[in-house]
Symmetry: C2
Subunit: 341 residues, 2 copies
């Protein structure tokens, strides 16, 4: 059993904790929570609760939440820490993990040079194999790597151009905007172009990111200039080899991100999450070696299978074995959607 | 004086009526309103009110709104009718205009074959010159034609790829969604690709359109594969020759469409409108003959100057004379924004 501690229990941390607990070769030794709120209380029903340091113990116990120990204690009972603390804190935390000699996995908000590698299960599982530190790239980069890797493998990519329409904030945040505007990221290209290159062997990439007032999903509009020509059916075949890609259609009433997330709830997935990247089949076109498609990304959950695989990669477990275990445990089946259950 | 009647007084009709009334060579003979609501009352303070047919007269007068006559009467006192009725009604209306022998201008919601030509002031003013019927293309197509025409002229366009993030509905509509989702148009490419070709001489165009829950503006993310190479400064120079293009920057706090529309209000433009297409200078990049930029489009008003110029084109008035008059009367000055007033 690989013993895993989760440092941080927000959008990503709580999902990694759940997904890790579903694996037969991974044991969740505990989670670190910073404040004794409703989420800490709910977490304590499933996991051992740890706090950053001794000062916090009384605060938690005053709220009736039993504390097992501090981050220091958690590291002692863990082989790997999944760091899901807020963006930018990883750089400080890695010093603590190094001092203690515990492996760690960081999230996409951290700088790409924080560990030994960046991680996407399909495209570069082996770059993190038996290493100490890796970083699972962000939800957007994960989505791009996942649907582009089959294309890159089978046809080559000469040039890539992506427009990312980003959700403004996550569903549990009632403070962030825009609430009635469209807001381009003022980096041109946006950081996704460089980030994608950390997990996918690409040269010419341009990305533009724009925030829209929605909380549900990101949507990407993608143009790929292929090296080798391909037909639409060839492209479909490339994608269908991978479980973490789901093909949906407008005629099944998948008219917007609202219906996609509703479908995920109906599938009774944990938290109503959708781990797969959903591609609209209607949108897949090939014109003069240019492949066009539109995909939707559940920003809260698409990186969760990658976090689980990153745990196994650092632990020296084979790529295909890991991906298969993760997919099976989380009921990830991909393919073409036809009222699947 | 060119006598102009406006059939329909919604988002576009009321703005064309105002803009036409600001011209020294155009007289607004009246406007046709279908229902005696608050908008009809406000219109009656500035314009003669006409109704579709005799049956409506009593209904309006019961609401205290004086009616000058019917559409038939308005056509008799007009050289040109600007048809701003709801999308798709133009095909029926044109029969009435033809029978009466009155010229007419339609809006972008009508089929492209409704008249003798489609219209954009910069790119094809002369195709409507002295003709009977023309169609001002939609707000999105107008925006694309306007900023691409200088590029096409100066450098040629090999390939064009546009992602349009559309506002869900106009500010005065409280019914239409999406209210928390991103909704791709299920036409791939979207209709904008073909529509653009009606006013701009292009071959390879691909467009994807997605609705976002906002009412303020559309935003376009554009990739142009140039025929001739160009530097960013060259591109700027091409645009700066045209008044209906405005260059804005993130550092001036133009971070989203919200600040752009706020600026238009501060300029004390009629109705807080922005006739110009706003391009973020930050977004303009040229990489290997590929030009990238992002622009914002005020969907309620960017076609208004085009409607005025279409009136003069049908009337046989010179292109440059018309554009200059329109720009001056509506205080359209374009250029680079530096706290301009």
């Amino acid at each position: 059993m690989i013993k895993v501690g989760i440092n941080g229990y927000g959008t990503i941390g709580k999902r990694v904790a759940y997904a890790a607990s579903m694996q037969d070769d991974i044991h969740v030794s505990g989670i670190v929570k910073n404040t004794p709120d409703y989420m800490a209380y709910l977490a304590s029903r499933s996991f051992n609760i740890y706090v950053p340091d001794d000062d916090k113990i009384k605060e938690f116990e005053d709220h009736g939440i039993k504390v097992k120990g501090t981050l220091n204690d958690l590291m002692e009972s863990s082989d790997i820490i999944v760091d899901a603390t807020p963006e930018g804190m990883g750089m400080e935390n890695i010093k603590i993990y190094k001092k203690k000699g515990v492996k760690a996995i960081f999230q996409g908000g951290e700088k790409s040079n924080i560990g030994d590698a960046s991680f996407n299960a399909y495209s570069n599982y082996n770059e993190s194999f038996k290493r100490e530190y890796t970083r699972v790239v962000s939800c957007n980069t994960t989505a791009l790597a996942r649907t582009l890797y089959p294309i890159l493998n089978d046809y080559g990519i000469e040039n890539l151009n992506v427009t990312l329409i980003r959700r403004a904030t996550d569903p549990n945040d009632n403070k962030k905007g825009p609430i009635n505007a469209i807001e381009p990221s003022m980096s041109f290209p946006s950081h996704h172009a460089d980030d994608l290159k950390t997990v996918l062997n690409l040269n010419n990439v341009y990305t533009v990111a724009l925030k829209a007032p929605t909380t549900l999903m990101h949507v990407h509009s993608i143009e790929v200039l292929l090296k080798d020509d391909a037909k639409i059916d060839d492209i479909m075949e490339s994608w269908l080899k991978y479980n973490r890609i789901l093909l949906i259609e407008g005629k099944d009433n998948f008219k917007s991100t609202a219906q996609i997330m509703d479908m995920a709830r109906e599938l009774r997935r944990d938290r109503g999450d959708l781990y797969e990247i959903a591609i609209w089949r209607d949108s897949v076109k090939v014109i003069d070696k240019r492949l066009y498609y539109v995909q939707a990304v559940h920003q809260e959950s698409d990186v969760i299978p990658e976090n689980i695989d990153a745990i196994r990669s650092l632990s020296g477990i084979d790529k295909n074995e890991s991906i298969e275990k993760t997919d099976k445990s989380l009921m990830i089946s991909g393919g073409i959607f036809y009222g699947k259950e």
